[in-house]
């Protein structure tokens, strides 16, 4: 098969297993102390700045970044183990998730020295949170059609007008890395004329309007920019290079264990039920789900190992996200076929609650970070079909 889809197996990392044990011990203590309760899809819905600060204190944010920016110079395999443990426990990681996963790495790649020194240590400390400013009301999968515009004023600052949507937790975040048009769209080169701006969400002219998702939760927002003056030194990377930068950012966004573990707390609850009942049909379902999950882990670990080798495996990352997010939704159907439980957020049964949370979040799994149709298109390119 095509080499662009296949990555070498990940070597077992002893360092990763050591930090995994530390995280597990920390999480057990936090759960015992009641500092959080387990939920499904907590990297979207579990905003808890105090919890994020605790992770920062322990050195579990900005793990792979240089020490001079507050990072810890650890491997992607170690970071993988930490993120995977947090997700499996259903811990409240949403506040820092975007900053740690993609905004920080984006700043490391393209930021100025001043931007890095100013912001990265705060992200690593769990004190500075980011949102993704890509989609717009009229631009979803067709990201190149964005209309949010930034123009230079006489002082060399940027004046931004437009709106971004689906900005998770913008109401609780500090910055938005915002994709804007800095030159009119050119039909001959749709990817030209875009740039990324580092926008402080407390600037005058920014309005954050809540958008509620199916379970009533407020995570999404519309962020409206009305003549917002962004200092000229807050351009991220090169003017006109926005498309390229966004593509690189998406490779980070698409490669992690949150792309198959969003509903893991439901699987764990189901496993408890099966362990108690010994139901053969439940056991078989748990076995099948576990086999799928183990395969996804291998794929995701291979990507972490590739990142450690300095590669940016965008096509394998798209493939894992497609297969992994499909699994996240399938989990619900497979489990409900073999348990006699009615889903409800108010259920006295933890399995009923987990099913309800997973179900009401389900449409998002295969949309966020690039729809599975877009991802399959990328995989098709890897197969040499486009």
């Amino acid at each position: 098969m095509s080499n662009s889809l296949t990555l070498a197996p990940a070597p077992r990392s002893e360092a990763a297993e050591r930090v995994r044990a530390e995280v597990r011990e920390f999480l057990a203590a936090e759960l015992a102390a009641g500092s959080f309760t387990t939920h499904v899809d907590t990297w979207l819905s579990g905003v808890d700045p105090a919890f994020s600060r605790k992770l920062g204190e322990r050195g579990w944010l900005g793990m792979t970044w240089p020490k001079k920016y507050g990072g810890h110079e650890r491997s992607a395999m170690e970071r993988y183990a930490v993120t995977e443990e947090l997700l499996a426990a259903g811990a409240p990681v949403a506040a820092h998730w975007i900053a740690d996963r993609q905004s920080g790495p984006n700043l490391l790649r393209y930021g100025t020295e001043a931007q890095r020194e100013e912001i990265l240590p705060r992200i690593a400390a769990g004190e500075c949170f980011f949102v993704i400013g890509m989609s717009e009301p009229d631009s979803g999968s067709d990201l190149a059609s964005i209309r949010t515009k930034a123009t230079r004023n006489a002082d060399g600052d940027w004046v931004v007008n437009g709106a971004k949507v689906w900005t998770s937790n913008a109401h609780a975040s500090h910055y938005a890395i915002t994709l804007v048009r800095t030159a009119p769209s050119d039909p001959a080169n749709r990817h030209a004329g875009m740039s990324q701006l580092l926008i402080d969400l407390s600037l005058p002219g920014i309005t954050v309007n809540p958008i509620r998702i199916l379970d009533g939760g407020h995570h999404f927002n519309e962020v409206v920019f009305d003549d917002v003056v962004v200092p000229g030194n807050m351009l991220l990377g090169e003017e006109g290079n926005g498309w390229h930068q966004v593509t690189a950012e998406l490779a980070f966004e698409r490669s992690g264990p949150e792309r198959f573990l969003s509903t893991y707390p439901l699987v764990a609850e189901f496993a408890r039920r099966v362990a108690d009942s010994g139901d053969p049909a439940g056991l078989a379902t748990l076995g099948r789900l576990s086999a799928r999950l183990l395969a996804l882990r291998q794929l995701s670990l291979r990507i972490a190992a590739a990142l450690d080798r300095g590669e940016l495996p965008d096509i394998p990352a798209a493939l894992v996200k497609d297969v992994g997010t499909t699994f996240e939704g399938d989990v619900i159907e497979e489990i409900r076929k073999v348990v006699d439980v009615t889903p409800s957020l108010d259920s006295p049964d933890p399995l009923g609650r987990a099913l309800a949370e997973a179900q009401l979040h389900a449409p998002g799994y295969t949309l966020r970070g690039g729809t599975n149709e877009i991802l399959k298109g990328i995989v098709a390119r890897g197969l040499g079909l486009r």
Partner: protein, 360 residues
């Protein structure tokens, strides 16, 4: 892959190129000529120690050979000999038959083995009972069978050249007949139940490796076909609907390959380093995952190929019919799914996650 392994694979490919895949029938249940060519090149002893009559080499070399032959739909008992029966006999201290003579393996849950001497070690047994679903029954000269004795599992080796096999075949026409054994003389050895479980896992690993290789090849064939077949003035592969199907197939195949590789590695590292139970669970997971991919990959491969793929004259069925069979052989998908779940929950109701992160 090492250079040696590349060389071995190259040799297998060269030999395979001289033999067309065949539609198997009761009259022609295997490819004796291909077997002779492989045996002549020493390839039917790879991974088995030279001291025991094998050709030497590692498990990984044997796996590479099995993968290559599976992708080529080669009708010869190499997976059974190199990955299951051969290593099991060597490990149990039972003398290996000449590697030029086809050897197979079967689970003989209904076969009772009685010691006919009083030795503690490998010795003589008599076997009674029916052994069903024997891969290559009527083709293999020797059968290694996992039987049951009064003191526990017994691995026994029977010369079945003179034993009549019932004619039965899997969906691909590969022989899967039965033998009725009645006080049949065998050499054999007692196994611990853990050894017996590992042997079952070895059998499942062989099928998982074959499944992975065949799935990869079916994807490659389908991508190739979609690039060549023109409809509405364009190759099929230019249609987005077809691209979505091929991408879905690629996702399945890539997942299977990654997990199968990990299971092979777990078996290579062995029970001491990885824990006996975890090796079995790694294989169980690979077998279940590979089996689960068959539904998607075979269905979409046929869908993309259209009617030509539904004919015996076109090559696709050589692999898709094997996929539909292999996924429930060496322990059904259901069996291994339950083994996997049971093993993952062995440490209690909260033990799933620690087990998942330990197994592979």
């Amino acid at each position: 892959m090492s250079t040696d392994q590349d060389l071995v694979v190259e040799t297998v490919r060269d030999i395979l190129a001289g033999f067309e895949p065949t539609v198997l029938t009761a009259e022609k249940p295997w490819d004796a000529g291909l077997w002779a060519a492989l045996a002549g090149a020493g390839l039917t002893g790879v991974g088995l120690p030279e001291d025991d009559g094998g050709s030497g080499g590692e498990l990984a070399d044997a796996v590479a050979i099995v993968r290559t032959l599976a992708a080529g739909a080669a009708p010869v008992p190499v997976a059974e000999q190199l990955l299951v029966a051969g290593p099991a006999l060597v490990e149990a201290g039972i003398a290996l038959p000449p590697v030029e003579e086809p050897l197979t393996f079967a689970l003989g849950d209904a076969v009772v083995a009685h010691a006919s001497d009083d030795g503690d070690g490998p010795g003589r047994f008599t076997l009674t009972g029916t052994v069903t679903d024997v891969a290559w029954a009527g083709v293999a000269r020797h059968l290694a069978v996992l039987a049951t004795g009064p003191a526990g599992p017994v691995l026994a080796l029977v010369d079945v050249a003179a034993v009549p096999a019932s004619s039965a075949a899997n969906l691909a026409g590969e022989p899967r007949g039965s033998f009725v054994l009645d006080d049949s003389a065998a050499s054999g050895a007692l196994l611990t139940s853990a050894q017996a479980e590992r042997l079952r896992a070895r059998f499942a690993l062989a099928r998982a490796v074959q499944l992975a290789a065949a799935l990869e090849r079916v994807l490659a064939w389908t991508v190739q076909y979609a690039g060549e077949r023109q409809q509405f003035g364009r190759p099929l592969g230019k249609f987005q609907a077809i691209q979505m199907e091929l991408a879905q197939m690629a996702g399945e195949v890539t997942a299977v390959t990654a997990l199968t590789d990990a299971a092979v590695q777990a078996v290579e590292q062995g029970a001491v380093e990885r824990g006996a139970v975890d090796v079995v669970l790694a294989v169980a997971a690979a077998k279940v995952r590979a089996g689960a991919a068959v539904e998607v990959v075979a269905r979409l491969a046929h869908q993309v190929h259209g009617a030509i793929g539904f004919t015996q004259e076109y090559r696709l069925h050589h692999l898709t019919r094997r996929l539909w069979s292999w996924r429930d052989e060496a322990g059904s998908e259901l069996h291994w799914a339950r083994v996997l779940a049971g093993g993952l929950l062995a440490d209690g109701p909260d033990g799933l996650w620690p087990a998942l992160t330990r197994v592979v």
